[in-house]
């Protein structure tokens, strides 16, 4: 279900890093040897032979990240991102796998479109990439796609991300039929009669600035509906980019009742609130919107206690000229692949809000499990999916920082801590800095 370009596997020894793998219960200074892309030894003073040596003293080596929610804009808006540029950006962000959403032009709703993406990925993807296909044809919410054929053609899951499946009856059919394919259904929860024309979270800041509000109940109402349908059908589901505390509450309750529901949260919803929008910066406009401090606190709590299993960037590249307009005219979405770890490390780990181990787990094995992908592990016999992190590096994020074709990052101009020094994805050294 993941595709990448054919490249020789590496022989590498990472020497002297603090190796942290929360899943394996490892946190020790070790050497890690990789032979032909597979981890073959962990230990002290490992033989380097003729291997490439990454001197990693003072750095952290962790399982590489998995991003379950990326927009690669291909086909249709290759000026904003391509499979090559998006996967290069992912490699720079420490990712060994990313999943691309199907809301392209045309929408990925046929095996033919999916097949051509897989073909391209096989020739140009710097790291493994998976493709979700649409739940409904053209994401129009009217008819189901041929999910069986799409799954057979390699779809990693199904989503109408960007738009909700509005009709409950059709949503039920999608859950029923999706189960046949064995792939995860991922839902963008938004009740559009409540969010319509909404530019930002409805609250004190929107009241003052005059923006049309997008209330949190527009999300949580749909979350409740989809959880109820999934419970009725006894089917798993994945909730995309949660933003509201009511949604976290509903999910926690449903999971306690035994529902196989997973969810993701973005770095920007974990780090920012609607207060930031006072700057009127279009790079703070996204859907769902930044919400209040109590929502942010609930998201952090949910990520910590495992109600939310994954961090997802919702990397949404937009052309410069489309964001250089007044806030209301700007499209929704911000980039995130290359800044996710630094954002979380700076805003959550350093201030002591979330332990480093939890962030590493939710960026790696959490999202992999949610989609039934192989979890990156640091263990003998596992494929080498590793990220080397410099927790002490402090740097300013500028447009030149990015490998993505777009620069609509909410962190432009900010100084952050925590830098990716190297990424090994599927046994290949995909990035070094």
């Amino acid at each position: 279900m993941l595709f990448t370009k054919n490249a020789p596997k590496e022989d590498i020894v990472v020497r002297g890093a603090r190796v942290i793998d929360p899943g394996e219960g490892v946190d020790a200074v070790l050497d890690v040897r990789v032979d032909d892309g597979v981890i073959t030894a962990l230990g002290q003073n490992l033989d380097t032979n003729s291997h490439r040596v990454l001197d990693a003293e003072g750095l952290v080596l962790a399982p590489a990240f998995v991003d379950p929610h990326v927009h690669l804009r291909t086909p249709g808006r290759e000026d904003e991102e391509t499979i090559a540029s998006g996967t290069a950006a992912a490699a720079a962000g420490g990712y060994c796998a990313i999943l691309a959403m199907p809301n392209t032009d045309p929408v990925v709703d046929s095996a033919a479109t999916l097949g051509s993406l897989i073909e391209t990925a096989r020739s140009e993807a710097e790291i493994p990439v998976g493709f979700l296909a649409a739940i409904t044809r053209g994401q129009s919410g009217a008819e189901l796609t041929e999910m069986g054929e799409l799954a057979a053609a390699g779809a990693v899951g199904f989503s109408d991300d960007g738009v909700p499946v509005a009709a409950p009856g059709l949503m039920r059919r999608a859950l029923q039929y999706g189960a046949v394919t064995g792939r995860r259904i991922a839902l963008h929860c938004e009740e559009r009669t409540l969010s319509r024309d909404g530019q930002m979270h409805e609250g004190e800041v929107s009241a003052e600035l005059g923006f049309t509000g997008y209330p949190s109940v527009a999300e949580s109402l749909m979350v409740e509906r989809d959880l109820a349908l999934a419970a009725y059908e006894r089917q798993p589901l994945h909730l995309l980019h949660l933003s509201a505390w009511e949604s976290v509450q509903a999910l926690r309750r449903a999971r306690a009742e035994g529902l196989q529901a997973t969810a993701e949260v973005t770095p920007h919803h974990l780090c920012l609130t609607d207060e930031a929008i006072r700057s009127l910066d279009p790079n703070l406009k996204m859907n769902p919107p930044l919400r209040s401090e109590s929502d942010r606190t609930a998201l952090i709590e949910g990520l910590k206690d495992g109600t939310i299993v994954a961090v997802a960037t919702d990397h949404a590249p937009h052309a410069r000229h489309e964001k250089e307009v007044p806030f209301e005219a700007a499209p929704f979405g911000v980039t995130g692949l290359e800044t996710a770890f630094a954002a979380l490390y700076t805003h959550l780990v350093e201030p002591g809000l979330i332990p480093l181990g939890v962030v590493l787990e939710r960026m790696s094995s959490g999202p992999a499990r949610a989609y039934g992908l192989e979890e990156p592990r640091i263990a003998v016999g596992a494929a080498a999916n590793l990220v080397l992190l410099d927790l002490n590096a402090s740097y300013r994020i500028t447009e030149e920082t990015f490998r993505s074709r777009s620069v609509n990052s909410w962190l432009l101009g900010a100084t952050v801590k925590g830098k990716v020094r190297a990424t090994i994805a599927a046994g290949r050294l995909a990035y070094t800095a």
């Binding site: 409805e202 923006f211 049309t212 920012l272 009127l280 307009v325 209301e328 700076t346 805003h347 900010a414």
Partner: protein, 331 residues
């Protein structure tokens, strides 16, 4: 004639001031407002002369860019600039390159190439003046950006209240109607609370934005409270900004019956204001609009002198700083 030849000290042409803007009431202090009101007062007295033109801003260029229809604001800015002897140009979105799909950024850069001293902009989208401020070297005056701010309207309203009631501090002002879509209301709430007046918002629930009390006012759906106000400020029902089928109120008829400002709901002597244009018979009863206690024409006159004061102030004195860069500093 003679008195104009000898220029008064406080009306002398400016030396080069630091670059400032007037985009939001949030960006000004009480001292700034006092200074602007005092300048407006001085300018109003000068308007009593037979020849009303002052040489103060001779050689300056003021460009008015209006992306939305306007009678009062555009005419008063144009006249204000002319009365101060500035050169003026007025650009409307229809008939300009905006019709050809030119972006606001490119239009602003084009106009900026003429080195204007001031760009006055009205735009249907929040934050448009900030964008113009970022890409040009001009002082930017916000003449209304979407539902966000209309700071010169708030200034002229303060001026009107002080002229008519002698004070602003301690006044009780009821703002009635469509607060949700009103940039006038947002600027006025902030301006009145800055100057120590008490504000109560009155309107149908869906037109009172959730969380608006945090701006420093009260909010109620009960129209009877307007009887206790010194000033009843009536907002226009902004039908053009309302989404199709949003059902903010069941009908204008029902709105008028429940929230219309009628003589029966007022006490004698209460002052009534409206930013115009009015929907007579909807938010305001025609008998109220035409009554002597209505200050609507006074507001229009105040608009001219307060806008002259703003242009004068930007090009001469006083700090009205606004941050136009939106750099997020990470802790």
């Amino acid at each position: 004639m003679a008195e104009i030849r000898v220029m008064r000290e406080d009306l002398r042409p400016p030396t080069t001031p630091p670059r400032r803007h007037f985009i939001s009431i949030k960006d000004v202090t009480r001292d700034d407002v006092e200074r602007l009101l005092a300048t407006a007062r001085t300018l109003e007295r000068s308007m009593e002369r037979e020849v009303k033109k002052l040489p103060t801003l001779k050689g300056r260029l003021v460009i008015n860019v209006f992306y939305e229809s306007s009678t009062r604001t555009s005419s008063s800015f144009e006249l204000a600039a002319k009365r101060l002897s500035a050169d003026t140009m007025s650009i409307k979105s229809s008939g300009s390159s905006v019709d050809k799909g030119e972006s606001l950024k490119d239009t602003a850069i084009t106009l900026g190439a003429y080195d204007p001293d001031v760009i006055v902009i009205r735009h249907p989208q929040i934050g448009a003046p900030n964008l113009v401020a970022r890409v040009t070297e001009a002082h930017v005056v916000n003449a209304g950006d979407g539902k966000h701010q209309h700071p010169t309207q708030a200034l002229l309203d303060l001026y009107t209240m002080r002229e008519e009631l002698g004070r602003i501090e301690g006044l009780h002002v009821s703002i009635v109607g469509d607060v949700l879509h009103s940039r006038v209301a947002r600027s006025l709430i902030q301006a009145l609370s800055l100057m120590g007046a008490q504000v109560t918002l009155v309107g149908p629930p869906a037109l009172l934005p959730r969380g608006v009390e945090a701006m420093g006012c009260e909010a109620t759906t009960d129209i009877s409270v307007i009887g206790g106000a010194d000033v009843v400020y009536v907002l226009r029902m902004q039908r053009e900004r309302m989404q199709e089928g949003a059902n903010y109120v069941p009908s204008l008829r029902e709105y008028a019956a429940r929230w219309g400002v009628t003589p029966e709901r007022l006490r004698p002597g209460q002052k009534v204001m409206h930013p115009g244009p009015m929907n007579r018979g909807v938010e305001i009863d025609p008998r109220v609009a035409d009554h002597a206690d209505a200050l609507i024409e006074t507001q229009v006159r105040a608009g001219l002198v307060t806008r002259m004061a703003v242009l004068y102030d930007l090009l001469t004195t006083g700090p009205i700083e606004v941050k136009t860069e939106s750099v997020l500093e990470v802790a």
